[in-house]
């Protein structure tokens, strides 16, 4: 079991007038190298599920385990270590560092400037069709190119799990398809978790978790959609 969640509740703004129940009594276990999608409308808690799994947010109650590690029992810096070693992240906004070149941005998670690291980065960028842009800065790229650089950055550390939160929301249709095709290539070696409200990009997912109002409604095998 890579991920195991038991009776997880995540509540925001505790103590304030209006509390938000982002996750309600989630029980879930995920394992294996596969492509998993999390779907749902806006406010359904899908991003919160991703944050809980990645260790960004400690649940208000319940247990989230990654392998043998219980997030409740480790310190924030240990949890950061886990993220650096085992996880890769792709967000809707690319979050590239504007003053670094494409190559430097890709190398940020490993902070290595050795020849081997550079060669590895360039080979990943090459697969993404960006090898000719290594010395450009983010503002010189198009939206699709920037997101692909973000993907390369997520892959440089050979993560075991790739988390993608609405990776194609800011892209046009053809770029979205390209990006998803590339991510899907890795489903045999890694666990890929993609959060989205767009069912089209989950066509090749192994499983799709449907969420509504903070709870898991159903888990579909194969094609996505309710």
């Amino acid at each position: 079991m890579i991920f195991k969640m038991e009776s997880v509740n995540l509540v925001y703004d505790i103590g304030k007038e209006v509390q938000t129940f982002a996750l309600k009594d989630i029980n879930l276990s995920l394992d294996g190298n596969r492509f998993i999608g999390i779907m749902g409308p806006s406010g359904s808690g899908k991003s919160s599920l991703l944050y809980a799994m990645a260790g960004f947010k400690i649940p208000t109650s319940g247990k989230v385990c990654y392998g043998e590690i219980d997030y409740n029992k480790v310190s924030p810096s240990e949890s950061a270590e886990i993220r650096r070693k085992d996880f890769g992240f792709i967000f809707q906004r690319h979050f590239l560092i504007d003053y670094m070149t494409v190559l430097e941005n890709v190398l940020v998670p490993i902070n290595d400037d050795s020849r081997e690291a550079k060669i590895k980065a360039i080979s990943i960028l090459d697969k993404l069709g960006l090898a000719h842009l290594t010395s450009k800065k983010p503002y010189q790229l198009s939206g699709g190119q920037r997101q692909r650089v973000a993907i390369a950055r997520a892959l440089i550390g050979d993560p075991k799990v790739i988390f993608a939160d609405e990776p194609t929301a800011a892209l046009d249709h053809s770029s979205s398809i390209e990006v998803m095709k590339f991510i899907e290539n890795y489903k045999k070696d890694k666990m890929i978790i993609v959060v989205t409200h767009d069912s089209c990009i989950l066509q090749n997912a192994n499983h799709v978790i449907n969420m509504l109002d903070g709870a898991i409604v159903s888990i579909d095998k194969g094609r996505g959609g309710i």
Partner: protein
């Protein structure tokens, strides 16, 4: 270079950090410049006044009556006194101008046999011309004063206020001396006997300069008809005046620090805010908050240190140029290198670095992953 290294950051953001860098360098320049000019002025005043008293003590009768035998025998009898030079008369003096102050240098009429002794005591060397011949109204003047007033060997000086000199009669400049004490010497003894002169005005030199007990003993005798001028009383007197200039320096430093802390603090806080996304993604990727703190700190310190060095180097260059163009023709000199001034200037990058880090650190602490959401 590693992507998260300080060099990468500074290289890629040179334009953005330039304003803060320039301000810091200018601030350092201002403080260091003011400090070393002050330091040099004080040094030159010492040369004209305190340095002499550091080596000798002057004992002079206030009235026509001679110095009491008690004092004379005390001085003659002290084992620490190496030599005693009788002063026949004080002949007037020069006004020497340093960048910030000006001070009067006295001239002494001494016996011919004491002339080489005096030069040795005051550590002065004859750089041009010859020693004055006895009873010929010839004068030795220090190099700095010759330069400042453009006086050469063979010139006659007497009551020349335009040359900043007023002497009791006309003298011919026969030699120029240089060293750590600005002093003017002549020898016109006439028929006066050494023992007689000794009873009215003398200076004495100690073998062991660290043991100044004889000065304290003489002062404690409280002879009102005799003036005993030693280093300590002159130093205390000078200090009163110099204190104000030093206070000014401290106040200026303080003000520059406050203004720079606020303004550069503003600038770097804004730069920090513009990097919030960068820090958010670094935290998400898995870098610990302490790693990010350290990165920020290293960048801050590297930049400020660099600005400090640039400021100091710039000041040294400017001062050297000013020396050649402005000061040396006036017989003045400003030292371009002084450790205590550098330390004073160093306080600026120190305090600015510290105040720069407070807001960003507080901000980083509270930063959460919410900023990763849309």
């Amino acid at each position: 270079m590693k992507p998260l290294s300080t060099v990468t950051y500074l290289k890629n953001n040179a334009k953005k950090v330039l304003p803060g860098f320039v301000c810091m360098s200018l601030g350092v320049f201002l403080i260091y410049f003011f400090s070393i000019i002050l330091y040099s002025s004080i040094y030159e005043i010492n040369q004209s006044y305190l340095n002499m008293l550091e080596r000798v003590t002057s004992v002079r009768a206030n009235t026509k009556n001679p110095i009491s035998d008690k004092i004379l025998s005390k001085i003659k009898g002290c084992s620490n006194v190496e030599c005693i030079i009788p002063i026949i008369s004080e002949i007037g003096g020069f006004e020497y101008k340093s960048p910030f102050f000006q001070i009067r240098t006295e001239g002494f009429n001494i016996f011919e046999e004491d002339m080489p002794k005096a030069l040795k005591i005051f550590d002065m060397k004859l750089v041009e011309g010859k020693l004055p011949s006895p009873n010929s109204s010839e004068l030795l003047i220090p190099l700095k004063i010759a330069k400042q007033n453009k006086i050469r060997i063979g010139d006659y000086i007497g009551k020349n206020p335009e040359l900043n000199v007023i002497l009791n009669k006309k003298y011919k400049v026969c030699g120029i001396i240089d060293g750590t004490v600005n002093i003017i010497l002549t020898t016109n003894a006439g028929n006066l006997k050494r023992e007689e002169v000794l009873k009215h005005n003398l200076i004495f030199y100690l073998k062991n300069n660290n043991n100044k007990m004889i000065n304290n003993e003489l002062t404690s005798m409280k002879e009102s008809k005799v003036t005993i001028m030693d280093y300590k009383s002159a130093y205390d007197q000078m200090n009163e005046v110099l204190m104000i200039m030093n206070s000014l320096r401290v106040i200026l430093n303080f003000i520059v620090i406050i203004v720079l802390c606020i303004s550069i603090g503003n600038l770097s806080y804004i730069l920090f805010l513009n990097r919030k996304d960068e820090f958010a993604i670094l935290t998400a990727i898995g870098y610990k908050k302490t790693t990010i703190y350290k990165k920020l700190l290293k960048e801050n310190i590297a930049l400020n240190l660099l600005a400090f060095i640039v400021g100091i180097v710039f000041t040294i260059i400017v001062v050297r140029l000013l020396n050649i163009v402005v000061f040396e023709p006036k017989g003045q000199y400003v030292y371009s290198f002084d450790i205590s001034s550098m330390v004073t200037a160093f306080l600026i990058p120190l305090f600015v670095s510290i105040s720069n880090m407070i807001s960003p650190l507080r901000n980083l602490k509270n930063m959460d992953h919410e900023c990763l959401e849309i």
